[in-house]
Symmetry: C2
Subunit: 473 residues, 2 copies
């Protein structure tokens, strides 16, 4: 019997692949396991991944609909996928799935400067989109660190953030409307082209951040901002983490809204200084660095940075330096940007993602120091201080199973601390296949039930990304 079932399944799988090839053309359906393996994972080492039956690369919405219908008929699950820059395993294949890559839907359909909006397909690379709208004097804020290779579709599915969020919000704040292929292959057009509108439920924002579990986004209408001015930059060094944390809380309390406000802990500073072979000027007892920017331009930027500087000084900063020089600003930010690369000189990194109330940042960093001592691994904390979204990054040796186990333990303990501070287990990376239990814990049994009810209502056969985010049982 078992052999027979396996035979039936193989036949049915073969029939599905044949059908997909008929629908999309041969070159758009990949089954060579060497090739499909490169579509089976994102950038999160902790997440499990399986072997896809096939990777399909539809070229338009109709082809996505056809793929969904064919898979639904065959009972084969679909894992939608963008560039694979994710950090939660949400796009990781499961055994026997069809991985649906959206990279070929890569057209910027429309840029409408008069209404400051654009219509874009999911496969467009974030940077390409930013560059295109910039030519019209417009600005698409969401800027995850992978912006030079991640795609808009992945950004939408994870509700991606970035450095800009403190002033400009996350991906969902830019979304006006979506086109989504549903589990039966039908096409939902939801949202609108107007900046306001309350006709019906906010379905667009239900799909944003749903990590491919409810449908496949094939088009988005997004609103754009006026292009900001060139940024002026501040760097401030503190001899205690608490002083830096207090400075962030005061920035919030006093109503300053910088366009960027990043924090680096002692471990990050050290890694960065060693890597860049430079001294960030903060002195050897510097425990925390704040980097701030204003993109308001001219006198306003000067005033914003002066206010930021004053807060840092009042909170006991040993160093506080501001510059309007673009190149110098870029160099200062470089210290923040190279941290992950710098950490690679010590081993592999595993970056966590918690978001805490902005008054609790110092406590989170202290918590990470404690965990670091306990597990005996380097943990460097960098984060978007302006919105409390911290990325404690654990360094471990990949060939040492014990270190890997300790890294995993540290990863979880960081989430524990984040939750205990009134935070969330993911600020911007998502739940995916690594934080399902943590999601369940954060949202509680009623929250989990509502998630399952919505999933069941929209995807009754559990076709889309099954087992990601939460399980149905």
């Amino acid at each position: 019997m078992r052999t027979l079932r396996a035979y039936d399944e193989a036949m049915s799988n073969e029939a599905l692949v044949t059908k997909l090839r008929d629908l999309l053309g041969k070159s758009a359906v990949l089954t060579d396991t060497d090739v499909t393996a490169s579509y089976a994972r994102d950038m999160m080492p902790l997440a499990p991944s399986g072997k896809p039956l096939a990777v399909v690369l539809p070229a338009n919405t109709e082809q996505v609909q056809a793929v969904v219908k064919a898979c639904a008929e065959a009972g084969v699950p679909i894992v939608p996928r963008g560039a694979g820059s994710g950090l939660s395993g949400a796009a990781n294949a499961i055994d026997g799935c069809v991985t649906l890559s959206l990279t070929k839907l890569n057209e910027i359909v429309e840029i409408d400067p008069g209404n400051r909006l654009a219509v874009v397909q999911p496969g467009v690379v974030n940077l390409d989109f930013r560059t295109a709208v910039e030519k019209h004097g417009l600005f698409y804020p969401p800027d995850p660190s992978s912006y030079d290779w991640c795609t808009i579709g992945g950004n939408l599915s994870t509700n991606a953030g970035g450095l800009c969020c403190v002033k400009y919000g996350v991906t969902t704040d830019s979304v006006l409307g979506l086109e989504v292929v549903l589990a039966d292959g039908s096409l939902l057009k939801t949202g609108r082209r107007t900046v306001k509108g309350v006709a019906g439920y906010d379905l667009a924002r239900l799909f944003v951040g749903s990590e491919g579990t409810l449908g496949v986004i094939t088009q988005a209408t997004v609103q754009l901002k006026p292009l900001p001015q060139a940024p002026a930059t501040l760097v401030a060094g503190f001899s205690t983490t608490e002083a830096a944390g207090e400075a962030v809380a005061r920035v919030v309390r006093e109503g300053l809204v910088p366009s960027l406000l990043e924090i680096m802990d002692a471990s990050s500073i050290k890694a960065s200084e060693t890597y860049l072979k430079t001294d960030l000027g903060a002195g050897s007892d510097c425990q925390a660095l704040l980097l701030g920017q204003s993109d308001a331009g001219g006198e306003v930027a000067r005033r914003e940075l002066a206010a930021l500087e004053q807060i840092c000084v009042d909170c006991g900063a040993d160093l506080a330096y501001t510059t309007e020089d673009l190149e110098e600003g870029r160099m200062l930010l470089q210290a923040r940007r190279v941290v992950l690369t710098a950490l690679e000189t010590y081993g592999l990194w595993l970056t966590d993602d918690v978001c805490v109330p902005r008054t609790r940042i110092a406590e989170l960093i202290r918590g990470c120091e404690k965990i670091s001592a306990e597990v005996g691994l380097r943990i460097a904390v960098v984060g978007h201080a302006g919105d409390g979204n911290m990325h404690p990054t654990i360094v471990y040796q990949p060939d040492d199973p014990d270190e890997f186990a300790r890294a995993q333990r540290a990863f979880d303990e960081i989430l524990e601390v984040g939750l205990s501070l009134g935070g969330t287990v993911t600020g911007e990376h998502g739940v995916g296949k690594i934080k399902r239990e943590w999601l369940a814990r954060e949202i509680g049994p009623v929250g989990l039930r509502v998630h399952r009810q919505i999933k069941q209502a929209l995807d009754p056969e559990n076709l889309f990304n099954p087992g990601s985010m939460f399980s149905m049982t």
Copy 2:
């Protein structure tokens, strides 16, 4: 048989009222029809309303849960209700329902200046909340015109807007988390206290704007903005509607973000001038007035208003005047604020609510002029030009059934024009009991199906506000 069923129903209704009295105390369950009638309608004259079996006024979340459980058990529908300032009939009673007034849940639970957030119950009046957070130098942006008597719960349920939206967004943009009583009486806590977070579906924003059809909001965590500066004001008069429309489009295109940008058409200007017994200084051939404000303060506000003024002049404004004097600014805005009151001197008014792309405002106004001529009724257009949300207001004689019928016709034809311009049938007032067919038309059969699937998943017995927004069949 029929008599027997009626008898059974009466008995069961009586039993429910008794149970509700046991749960909430006698004074919190109103059944006197003279009294309950005052809870049976909102401010929209077109919407049908029925007679509630009872009006209940729970004092806390536990009592809301108990009411929901009791009604669910008895199979009696619930219509949740705030202050009743709505303009879509969403809070209107249906025959035999329990109207659940949230006005007694009126506590501001917490104001946290360090994290710039507050926790608030639904019954708090918008103005009271604004005033309370202002004492901490904070600002809660959503400001529907009824802000001095509407409640936060109603604002959340309708995703209310106001004059501030052009710069600060609508209610949903302020929401971080919600507590919601679900159809089985369980309490969902969703969202968070952090400004970022992607743990699970964005359920909070699904409930915001769902018009009481999915659950009863009993608490909200909202983020607050820094208190803006005192506004500087501009008024500009145009001899053609198209010139004013072009000025709005240029404001958007050039990336200006005023804190207020309102438009008045010729009919509104005339009504306002007559009522205020003043000349707005725009001359007798003035066809459209723009009112703009900047709350950025000092030099920035001056620069923003100068840029706004320049655009108006470039677009052919006959009058363009700016002032930093607060009192003068208030007087200028008064012309906009009194329009509805001014129209009452001619008859009853019926205000519509469409939102169009910001490049199409002049076309919408022209469309309303045409409809006005066709139906032979005065239609005055005021609107939030900065976000394209227009409120064409039809004046009719209440004692003339024919005029009322023509007013209704005009109301629908305005929606037709709005949709044809790529707009939405409701920018901020909601669907309620008056725009169900229009919602169905705007979102299409797939959109409607998804709405029904979600409603069915969360409220399988159709307990909450049945027949509002959309029907289940």
